[in-house]
């Protein structure tokens, strides 16, 4: 029996690094400190798992070997005019680096899940900047914590206890000094814990932010109600924002993917900029998967662009709406795809999903996903952060090294290793090796 301490959890963007994992005979038998999501993954990840590469023959996926499977993926990519390489939020940055090189080599598009979640937040960053901080700053200083369009008690269960509401702080001696505000269209379980729940009208975030900015500057708001709220309530809330010592807004897809999209985030950034004239205020995107932030980081430093990078011209090109996965698929432009660590068939709009399934499709994933079931070739990979180590980036962009605690099943390689084999085969097929 071995007990591993301070293991990183490979579920959400909190990237908790204090998990204690007990391993007996290469099997995780006990997990401490993790939330229900983390515990469930660590204890059950290996169940109902396929460990053999699969290849489609006569319309059916049948087991094959790694050599044939990787050759097939290389062939699909080399034969395509405009392949899409998508996924990455559940991979290590080491794997993402190879993915980018592969996309560059085949002249395809590499995109990651930010494209369908926090991409609008990143586009807002291009236009406005971002006053932000690490989670430890919130832990020590924040006396006003706002969750806007997100429900961490459900999706990031340890966020409140570890980082915002109740962690030990150097400056905040009594947790009661901290005020929690939730802005949402639903009375979520996070909202139930809040000192103030602002039940906003669906799709009215931009209006509320604009009204708050006006109230903050003591402008007259002509309307009686904005975003379903009485103006008095908005003015009161503005006062609360202005008078805190350190405030933070965590925003989720309720803000990035609702009406207005990037404009909502631009407005929120403008609000936070305004607030910094009165007090200290920060804005942090509450990122979903454990390394979706890393996918943006690595892609940005290697290409200059954070997601949706098109290499078809030989140099990187980025234009969300043009080079984003869903848009390429809906226009029917791609003629093959490699999906790594993602399940787009289960989540993309129907026309996009249909086009993806219609064309040659390869999947690298530890699990059998819906996308894998429709693929022409499926290569199972090891679980990063459990069976192989690798780098991941927390939602506040702190990079951490994920540990390996058990060995992967015989013959199952990491995403990185599989991608390297494919890259090598692509180069052989192209005659550039």
């Amino acid at each position: 029996m071995v007990i591993y301490e301070n293991v990183l959890c490979s579920v959400c963007g909190c990237l908790c690094d204090d998990i204690e994992v007990t391993v007996e005979e290469n099997k995780i038998v006990k997990v401490r400190n993790a939330c229900a999501m983390g515990t469930t993954k660590l204890l059950n990840y290996y169940k109902e798992r396929n460990t053999k590469p699969l290849i489609k023959k006569d319309g059916k996926l049948i087991p094959t070997n790694l050599d044939e499977a990787t050759s097939k993926v290389a062939e699909i990519l080399v034969n395509a005019e405009y392949p899409l390489i998508y996924g990455w939020s559940l991979c290590s940055s080491e794997a993402i680096k190879v993915g980018i090189e592969l996309a560059e080599e085949v002249g395809g598009v590499i995109d990651n899940q930010a494209s369908v979640c926090h991409g609008p937040g990143i586009q807002a960053l291009h236009n406005s900047g971002l006053p932000t901080c690490t989670l430890g700053e919130v832990k020590h200083r924040a006396d006003l914590i706002i969750y806007w369009g997100c429900n961490p008690e459900d999706a990031h269960p340890r966020h409140l206890t570890r980082y915002t509401l109740s962690p030990k702080s150097k400056f905040i001696k009594d947790p009661k000094e901290r005020k929690l505000v939730v802005i949402d269209v639903r009375n979520t379980i996070t909202a139930k814990k809040a000192n103030l729940f602002i039940n906003i009208e669906q799709g009215a975030d931009f209006e509320l932010i604009s009204a708050l900015r006006a109230a903050l500057k003591f402008e007259e708001i002509e309307e009686e109600r904005v975003a379903g709220l009485a103006v008095e309530q908005i003015e009161e809330f503005a006062e609360m924002l202005r008078s805190c010592k350190f405030g933070v807004i965590f925003f989720g897809q309720g803000l990035t993917q609702s009406l207005g999209k990037s404009k909502n985030i631009e407005a929120a950034i403008a609000l936070v900029k305004d607030l910094n004239d009165y007090t200290k205020f920060a804005l942090i995107p509450i990122r979903g998967h454990y390394n979706v932030a890393g996918a943006n980081e690595v892609t940005a430093w290697q290409t200059g662009f954070p997601f949706a990078v098109d290499f078809s011209k030989g140099y990187p090109w980025y234009n969300p709406g043009e080079t984003t996965a869903v848009d390429i698929l809906r226009r029917g432009e791609s003629d093959a795809a490699l999906i790594v660590g993602s399940d787009p068939l289960a989540h993309f709009p129907k026309e996009a999903a249909d086009h993806l399934a219609k064309n040659p499709l390869a999947v690298i994933d530890p699990d059998i996903s819906v996308t894998a079931l429709a693929a022409d070739v499926v290569i199972p990979s090891a679980f990063t952060g459990i069976e192989v180590s690798g780098t991941a980036y927390r939602m506040d962009r702190v990079g951490l090294l994920m540990k390996k605690v058990v060995d992967p099943p015989e013959g199952v390689l990491s995403d990185e290793e599989i991608l390297r084999i494919i890259l090598k085969k692509v180069r052989i097929l192209k005659g550039v090796a």
Binding site: C133, G136, R162, A300, W301, V398
Partner: protein, 565 residues
């Protein structure tokens, strides 16, 4: 493999070689005194200048702040997209180039070593993840300590040895090379949205002054025998009248100095040499700064030259960037890092018809021209703050040619000319001095004994520039200087020809170096338990995960020194 560089015009100031025609011999990755010439590959360097590979003391090339800058400035990339070639990866350039492009562009200019000057320890995994992706050059990281709670607490309690032990531990564990100090104490205040002025006001909650932090870290630097002095970005950057605090900063460590050895490096001093009391009365105070530097051997400086172009400011001085975006109305990134530091980013377009920018331009050059000893002033643009590093050849031409400077001077506002000294300065650098301020002097102040020179035993990092001093006069033919230094005829890295005629012909991976200062075991263990406690209370990561393993680096290169404690 052996390489013979024949008949080059060699400038090697560390070995007192000033333009002699001679051969340089290379065996493997080292310069040697003899080789079997019949088996060596020969480079004909006749009528060409041969220098050690360039060393950049201060250039923001990686880290979360730099990468935020890339994401902030996507529009900046569209005008400078770089396609994949047979040997090189694709990417994008201009003010914050992507990692591969950064490496290529340095190598093309004949640079072989670059220092990334401002990284918070918490984000060192990100830093090294990114440094791994910078090809062609050797590189290192300076670690920020000037607003670190643990440092401030140790210093406040007078525990200088424990503070030194902690810093040695961080440098070794997170793989950094230098104690970097940015806006000491004030960034902790900025994390509350506050500002403190001057070096003698106490930092709230910590009861220590900026001056005490600088002096404490200077003592620590000595105790740890670190190869480079403390590297200081002092308070009140970019503020009219700030030259006084700059002199005060240099002066506050004077009595720690011995043997006239430099023990404080003041960085991007252009941003810290302003006279006047507001932007309208801004003037150059380089006379005062240069006078102090000329009289006091414990100080070295670098320029922080600005370039008239569109670029991006980025610094751990988050409070300055807040003020800058208020001033310019530009986009603003701020990023505070728990326990350690802050950071900010604001794009800027320096224009020669802008009175303030023109004064800034003149100040940078004045510093290099008024400091008499080239071993104590180094060429930088504080990339990308003053301008992209790709403008170095232009800066070299301004330093070598009064005519080149006059070409710009006559185009800047008359008021800017009047408030600066540049018009009256006749000094022109020669190639020997250029070699000092771009490689020899920098390698020396970094304590890199095998870099910056061409004697046997040195690393075979060499630049060959196609400039014939017999044919051209750099003072008159300054455009030839720009041409030659923009694209090296050859760059040799670790004994291999990696650039020929200004193009990459062989991609290589450079080393990443850091310092390991060996302290006594007793001292090391005495701080261990208190560190565990501090980490548990202060950080959101455990001390176990606060580490960059050696094998995480593609080409790790530790430099060991022996501490005095």
């Amino acid at each position: 493999m052996a390489l013979l560089i024949k008949n080059g015009i060699v400038y090697d100031p560390l070995n007192n070689i000033n333009g002699e025609v001679m051969d340089i011999m290379i065996d493997g990755n080292k310069i040697v005194s003899s080789i079997n010439e019949s088996k060596a590959q020969v480079i004909d360097a006749s009528n060409k200048i041969v220098m050690a590979g360039g060393v950049d003391l201060h250039s923001h090339i990686v880290g979360p702040k730099v990468n935020s800058g890339r994401i902030l400035r996507v529009e900046d990339h569209y005008k400078d997209l770089v396609a994949k070639t047979r040997f090189t990866r694709s990417g994008s350039g201009y003010s914050i180039p992507s990692t591969f492009v950064t490496g290529y562009r340095y190598a093309i200019m004949g640079y072989t070593t670059v220092c990334e000057p401002a990284n918070p320890p918490l984000k060192m995994i990100a830093v090294h993840d990114e440094l791994n992706d910078i090809p062609m050059i050797d590189k290192t990281s300076f670690i920020l300590f000037g607003n670190n709670w643990i440092v401030m607490e140790y210093l406040k309690e007078g525990k200088i040895k424990e503070c030194a032990a902690f810093i040695a531990w961080v440098l070794k564990r997170m793989k950094g090379y230098v104690i970097k100090i940015v806006d000491p104490g004030c960034e902790e205040e900025w994390k509350w949205g506050n500002d403190i002025e001057g070096l003698d006001k106490e930092v709230n909650n910590f009861g220590i002054t900026p001056k005490e932090i600088i002096r404490g870290l200077c003592e620590v630097n000595k105790l740890l025998s670190l190869p480079h002095p403390i590297h200081v970005h002092t308070n009140m950057l970019g503020t009219p009248g700030n030259y006084r605090i700059t002199i005060e900063t240099m002066d506050c460590v004077k009595n720690i100095a011995n043997n006239n050895q430099p023990l404080i490096h003041m960085t991007h001093v252009q941003f810290h040499s302003y006279g006047g009391s507001n932007w309208a009365s801004l003037s150059s105070a380089t006379d005062e700064i240069a006078d102090y530097v000329n009289k006091n051997k414990h100080v070295t400086i670098d320029m922080g030259q600005i370039i008239f172009t569109d670029t991006t400011t980025m610094t751990a001085d988050g409070s300055f960037e807040y003020k800058l975006q208020k001033l310019t109305g530009e986009r603003w990134v701020n990023s505070d890092v728990e326990v350690e530091e802050s950071a900010g980013i604001v794009p800027i377009h320096y224009r020669r018809n802008n009175y303030v920018h023109a004064v800034m331009w003149a100040i940078g050059l004045e510093l290099a021209l008024l400091v008499n000893d080239p071993w104590r002033v180094f060429m930088t643009t504080d990339h990308p703050n003053g301008g992209p590093f790709t403008y170095y050849p232009k800066v070299i031409s301004w330093l070598m040619s009064k005519k080149a400077r006059e070409r710009v001077l006559k185009r800047i506002p008359r008021m800017s000319r009047r408030r600066t000294n540049l018009e009256d300065i006749d000094r022109e650098y020669n190639f020997y001095e250029i070699a000092i301020i771009t490689r020899a002097g920098i390698a020396k102040i970094l304590g890199l004994k095998n870099k910056g020179h061409l004697a046997p035993g040195a690393d075979a990092d060499i630049a060959i520039y196609d400039f014939n001093p017999k044919q051209y006069d750099p003072s008159r033919d300054y455009k030839e200087v720009v041409r030659a230094f923009s694209k090296a005829a050859y760059t040799i890295k670790d004994g291999e020809i990696v650039v020929k005629d200004g193009e990459i012909i062989k991609p290589v991976i450079g080393k990443t170096f850091w310092v390991e200062s060996e302290i006594s075991r007793d001292l090391e263990s005495s701080i261990a338990s208190s560190l565990n406690e501090k980490f548990r209370d202060y950080y959101t990561v455990s001390v176990d995960n606060y580490v960059v393993p050696k094998d995480y680096l593609y080409k790790p290169w530790p430099i060991q020194v022996k501490a005095k404690i």
